[in-house]
């Protein structure tokens, strides 16, 4: 039951994100335009130009500098945000690792778009999948509503003292970013109160004082040193620990927000759709989940026990939730909107397979790589996937473990 009164307005995904950022009392936005993220920065520029936000908007000269400015602005104590996609994310790659290592709780909107070459401006998950191991929290939105909600939650997740890690919220390029949807938005004051003032952890500095982890002449600190073989490993272990703690934080923030808004997305980490008694199931992320849900409903109407596990959080990987939701399922299709070249399947497939490996009754997994470069994934294709899963149950065999669906042979 929603606690606060909200209004519903038509917004495309990019505008929804821009609105969320506007409401979150962000101090610095440093961004560089790239399709299909451009509307976010354009909209935000309008807010700045009209004095609707108190934010320093830095029109940097590249995505690499965008992330750099966010890191040092964050280190100076500012709440920071940026947005990018595809090649822009790839250009930032070096700095993504620095952001995580410097424990900068930056929030970034990634409007998921295919990587070059050839250059393609449409949706797939290859951009964010390349950043799996870099130390960023990754959340994937199914629709623009969730993109709005998750962007707000992201500031709380990133800034939680147990976490203090940068967080990216993915929304599918063009499919969500440029498509109009009815989005229910919270009032400004409610969002402002929800995100609160940024908390900064305390650390011991070189004068032996306990000081806030930020650049402040009153409390000097050195951030970003050279680690030799004797300390790097320990710093990385710290990052991993915070990533693990993020699992709980994501759930708690999600639940707190759900109370305010009346909207929840599973338990915050994963969303199980008609999954409990399902015999055949699919796993996927992003906007395709919406299409899959439609197909699941149709199948269910015809008496077929189909279900879906939507991964909302990809990093940290919610292993327990994957296990508890897929345990006992006979055959599961893992749908990947990215391909790990030469890796015998897509990245989500690898992760799910590894998560269920130790289960005595682990499901058989089939990988379907789809939708690269914005190739449409349609209900009949997903229906076809479920039919193959049914066949696999009957025959007891998987014909082909890794498949490409929607590509012309």
């Amino acid at each position: 039951m929603a606690k606060v009164e909200q209004k519903t307005i038509p917004l495309n995904g990019d505008n929804a994100v821009a609105l969320a950022v506007k409401q979150c009392d962000v101090d610095v936005v440093a961004a560089y335009p790239i399709t299909p993220q451009t509307i976010i920065v354009e909209k935000f520029s309008e807010y700045v130009a009209d004095g609707e936000v108190e934010t320093a908007f830095v029109c940097v000269e590249s995505e690499h500098s965008a992330m750099t400015c966010c890191i040092t602005a964050s280190a100076t104590g500012a709440r920071t945000f940026t947005a990018t996609a595809s090649a822009g994310l790839a250009l930032m790659h070096e700095m993504l690792g620095v952001a995580s290592g410097c424990r900068a709780p930056i929030v970034m909107s990634v409007v998921n778009r295919a990587l070059s070459a050839p250059i393609n401006i449409h949706c797939d998950h290859s951009d964010a999948m390349c950043e799996r191991d870099i130390g960023w929290i990754q959340i994937y939105a199914e629709n623009s509503q969730e993109a709005y909600d998750s962007t707000i939650q992201a500031f709380r997740i990133a800034e939680a003292l147990d976490v203090t890690l940068p967080t990216m919220v993915g929304l599918d390029g063009f499919v969500l970013s440029h498509t109009l949807e009815n989005v229910t938005v919270l009032p400004d004051e409610v969002v402002k109160q929800f995100v609160g003032i940024r908390q900064i952890p305390m650390v011991t500095n070189h004068e032996g004082k306990l000081v806030p982890f930020k650049l402040d002449p009153a409390n000097p600190l050195t951030i970003g040193p050279l680690d030799l073989q004797d300390y790097y490993f320990e710093h990385k272990r710290q990052q991993e620990e915070s990533m693990r703690k993020a699992l709980d934080v994501i759930k708690k923030v999600h639940d707190e927000y759900a109370e305010l808004s009346g909207r929840n997305y599973g338990n915050g980490l994963v969303e199980a759709y008609r999954l409990e008694d399902a015999e055949i199931a699919a796993v996927c992320m992003g906007s395709t989940a919406g299409t899959v849900k439609t197909v699941v409903d149709e199948l269910r109407a015809n008496g077929i026990k189909a279900g879906l596990l939507r991964m909302r959080a990809f990093r940290p990987l919610p292993v327990e939730d994957i296990i508890s939701n897929l345990s006992g399922k006979k055959v599961v299709a893992v749908m990947d909107r990215a391909c790990s070249f030469g890796g015998n399947g897509g990245p989500l497939f690898h992760e799910i397979r590894h998560a269920v490996y130790d289960l005595p009754d682990k499901p058989k997994l089939v990988n379907y790589i789809y939708g690269l470069g914005g190739r449409d994934i349609q209900p009949y294709m997903i229906d076809g996937i479920y039919k193959e899963l049914q066949k696999a149950i009957e025959t007891g065999e998987i014909e082909k473990t890794v498949q490409f669906i929607g590509v012309r042979e």
């Binding site: 290592g101 410097c102 424990r103 203090t164 952890p201 650390v203 011991t204 500095n205 070189h206 004068e207 032996g208 982890f213 600190l221 050195t222 951030i223 970003g224 040193p225 680690d227 004797d230 300390y231 490993f233 320990e234 710093h235 272990r237 710290q238 620990e241």
Partner: protein
């Protein structure tokens, strides 16, 4: 004295440095040592100014140039720049 280095649970978050470089003595890098002559010195301060280590200070009470041999690396810039030839580089151990 324990030479065990700190574990990941003990060190500050995010790589913040927790020791001053002044605790790391670079004086043992030296092969040559500057020897200062108080009478020749004209107190121009150039040795203090040019020292890459900041190892030479002017003591305003005694009006002497004070050398911190914990940090002097023996580069010889002070001796080379001194306009009064008041500094001589002597081999370490033979001064």
């Amino acid at each position: 004295m324990s030479t065990q280095k700190k574990g990941w649970k003990e060190i500050p978050l995010g790589g913040a440095c927790w020791m001053s470089s002044t605790e790391y003595k670079t004086g043992d890098w030296r092969s040559y040592k500057p020897v200062w002559n108080a009478e020749k010195c004209i107190r121009c301060m150039l040795c203090h100014i040019y020292c890459p280590e900041g190892a030479i200070k002017h003591d305003t009470e005694t009006n002497n140039m004070v050398y911190n041999f914990d940090f002097c690396k023996g580069c010889g810039i002070c001796a080379n720049e001194c306009p009064a030839q008041a500094i001589e580089m002597v081999q370490e151990g033979k001064e």
